[in-house]
Homo-oligomer: 160 residues x 2
């Protein structure tokens, strides 16, 4: 079972793939898709869509997962984030890939053991859980974390 974790945002969308077998997980690949802030919105969204479609075509994941979005205090940030997410999820839909949504606290709890973990703790645990993986950046790390959480949650649903 290959799981694609996604951390969509307009400027930089992280993605991370893991292989999950029972309680065991292994790193497959990860990366970040950056868009040019000076390009038209439709071109930036097309870039995100196309790049994630290419990742899906290359690695043929069985399912996908992303953190639940919540409305930010800044409405313009929320709109940008949600538009990016719409393009990325549409690319998943084109490949008949369902996208499980997990609350951010649940992702942290699943990866680190506590819902209040900070980014540094999540990244330190990724090194333990996916030894040897070269991680492209903070957004790719977040994407791998949500993929790991998705694997854990489907293996032991009582962890919810």
């Amino acid at each position: 079972m290959i799981i694609l974790g996604l951390d969509p945002s307009l400027s930089c969308t992280g993605w991370g793939l893991i292989r999950s077998e029972g309680s065991r997980i292994a790193h497959v690949a990860n990366g970040e898709v950056k868009t040019d802030a000076s390009a038209p919105m439709s071109a930036r969204l097309d870039h995100l869509y196309s790049a994630i479609a290419a990742v899906i075509a290359t690695y043929a994941p069985d399912r996908a997962a992303a953190e639940e979005v919540f409305a930010n205090k800044n409405p313009q940030s929320t709109l940008k984030l949600a538009q990016a997410r719409g393009a990325v999820l549409a690319a998943c839909g084109a490949a008949n890939l369902a996208v499980n949504e997990h609350a951010a606290r649940l992702v942290k709890k699943s990866v680190v053991g506590t819902g209040g973990a900070d980014k540094a703790q999540v990244q330190a645990m990724l090194k333990v859980l996916l030894p040897g993986a070269q991680i492209a950046g903070a957004d790719a790390a977040d994407a791998l974390a949500v993929a790991i959480a998705d694997a854990h949650l489907s293996y032991s649903p009582t962890a919810r």
Copy 2:
């Protein structure tokens, strides 16, 4: 010059095409894309993306236009709307179509003459401006209105 107006939303995205030559406009086509509320989000967004991509492939518009989004009082509605918009704009981007954004008041002012016009006034003016057009519904009407506004604004930019 063929202009594609768009009124994106998750449950029903309106689209409308007009031909614009100087100060003259004519109706080309319009329609609405509805998605199944019981389907996964990624499938709904894929449906919007694919349907708008098909409209673009069929009519080969020269440019596109949509109303500016604003954050709704209900954050969940804003997130749904913006995700739908992201999928629709990504389809425009895939066809190298720029999407002009116009404020809702400016669209009404351009079509009816006053920024405070209601939906009924906009629809009545559409019958005058696009005689004989069969309009698929309220969302298709809104899409035609933004296409007309885009034509007017590019013909007489001082109307801004």
